[in-house]
């Protein structure tokens, strides 16, 4: 089982879109895929047809009872091979309740070790703020995906994210490989082009070759509650995420077989 977390400390950069679209593609390719919604806003949960304000078992349950039967927390979606561990609004209180307890950053990692034979891929959608939920998602992942909107304010958010990653790497003493994914790219705008150029210069080894374009179909897919690849298999956005997925899988395989050392794409410790 491979765990990919999708995080950025800036909101609105395409984290949830990236999670659901990659998960849709993975499940369509026959992989048993679990998406985990770590954001109390519950966008991914809503996307999957559940109500984060009115859900019995969620990530919140898991944090309060790490031994809970996973089958009672993981929900089916209406799509084959695609499951969700949903969010609930109450997760917003977890930092206050658990944030000062030692070891609470490793709950998700332990949970995943219990379900490693059940799923091929787990994709974790992170909240945009640093806290116990994000730390859990980073500590549990084999590979971190950082979507970055190609505009200047988002670049600042990326800097902060890489800094956080550096600190977590220091605390865990294990490098976390990461890939930066430029999103909402519009080649007609100067801002997009300049941002991409900046990313290429600053993060040459961590940048995905695939660019995710601005595509109104993402919004339509979200409204319909269907991952874009299932709604529009040949759409521009689907093809871009398909190329991203190919690159991630290839890199991940190289990482697993030791052909790439994790620190090549990991934040310097």
């Amino acid at each position: 089982m491979r765990v990919w977390s999708i995080a950025n400390q800036k909101g609105g950069v395409g984290k949830t879109t990236t999670a659901i679209t990659l998960a849709g593609l993975l499940s369509m390719r026959g992989n048993s895929t679990l998406v985990v919604d770590m954001d109390p806003h519950g966008s991914l949960t809503t996307y999957a047809g559940y109500d984060p304000d009115n859900i019995e078992d969620s990530v919140y349950t898991l944090f309060h009872n790490p031994d809970v039967m996973i089958a009672s927390v993981v929900k089916r979606t209406k799509f084959e091979n695609l499951y969700i561990l949903p969010a609930s609004t109450a997760m917003a209180t977890l930092d206050r309740q658990l944030g000062s307890r030692d070891g609470m950053g490793l709950i998700l990692k332990r949970t995943f070790s219990r379900i490693s034979s059940r799923f091929d891929h787990v994709l974790v959608d992170c909240p945009p703020m640093l806290g116990v939920l994000m730390v859990n998602a980073l500590a549990a992942c084999d590979h971190l995906i950082i979507p970055v909107q190609t505009e200047f304010l988002a670049l600042k958010g990326l800097e902060r994210m890489v800094h956080t990653l550096n600190m977590i790497t220091r605390s865990m003493k294990i490098p976390i490989p990461f890939t930066i994914v430029p999103t909402m790219y519009d080649r007609r705008t100067r801002a997009s082009q300049q941002s991409l150029q900046f990313l290429r210069e600053q993060y040459p080894h961590m940048l995905s070759e695939a660019l995710i374009p601005v595509d109104t179909q993402f919004r339509e897919a979200s409204r319909a509650g269907v991952p874009l690849p299932m709604m529009s298999p040949d759409g521009r956005g689907t093809l871009a995420y398909g190329a991203l997925l190919d690159g991630l899988v290839e890199f991940d395989r190289a990482l697993q077989y030791g052909q790439v050392k994790p620190h090549i794409r990991a934040a310097a410790s």
Partner: protein, 230 residues
């Protein structure tokens, strides 16, 4: 120094970087689950005194087991010696003592009988021995299983047969002893890999592992017998 210790001393953390480092170090500290979750459980329990004591014990046992597993070498885990009955798939009987579900390997049992209304008490006997029950012309020692489930600090107030009010007696050890239960649930077939086996059984040698589905303590009757009847 931990974050809460810093705040207790009222020393403001001037450097934001240091504050973050302290926060992350604490969150990512590899502490045994026992320490982490037990404190939560205790907090919840103090809010509700109606939580069944046997249920508490189930938590404690599981945490204790995971605490011992946390420190073990993964390489050793695979080589751990399993009981003879667990080398291939095996059948277990699930039964309930109050809200605690326990499991015993079927091959180690000698029968299940209806519990009598009373048994013969043994004044001055071992604390774990509830008394004697007649069975096919001989006496069966009835063991207070809850006594063994309890930790030293959390003994259960169930040291008499009448307090148990059991429905059945599960017989083992050639029907020379048995333990009372409130419900016989079912028999299931399980695989060795479906059990989290304990590596260190110096304490509670009869607790051989924890099953995940259903969540229950798996008891090695033989070890339990040797431990308790010696």
């Amino acid at each position: 120094m931990r974050l809460h210790e810093i705040s207790k001393l009222s020393r403001p953390v001037l450097e934001q970087e240091a504050a973050l480092t302290v926060y992350l170090d604490a969150l990512l500290q590899c502490v045994p689950d026992y320490d982490v979750t037990d404190s939560l459980v205790v907090e919840e329990r103090s809010a509700s005194s109606s939580v069944d004591p046997v249920t508490r014990v189930a938590d404690v046992l599981d945490h204790e087991m995971r605490a011992s597993a946390a420190g073990e070498n993964p390489a050793v885990q695979g080589e751990r010696a399993l009981p003879g009955w667990a080398t291939t798939s095996f059948k277990i009987l699930l039964f309930r003592v109050n809200e605690l579900t326990l499991a015993v390997p079927l091959s180690e049992l000698n029968g299940i009988v209806a519990a009598p209304e009373t048994i013969t008490g043994l004044p001055g006997g071992e604390k774990w021995l509830l008394g004697l029950m007649p069975y096919r012309g001989s006496s069966v020692k009835i063991i207070d299983i809850a006594y063994f489930m309890a930790t030293e600090s959390r003994h259960l107030p169930m040291n008499s047969f009448s307090a148990y009010a059991p429905k059945n007696i599960v017989l083992a050890g050639g029907a020379s002893w048995g333990f009372p239960c409130h419900d016989v649930l079912r028999i299931i077939t399980t695989e060795p890999h479906q059990v989290r086996w304990r590596s260190d059984r110096q304490r509670r040698p009869w607790l051989v592992g924890i099953m995940n589905d259903p969540v229950c303590a798996l008891i090695d009757v033989q070890a339990f017998s040797l431990d308790s009847m010696a």
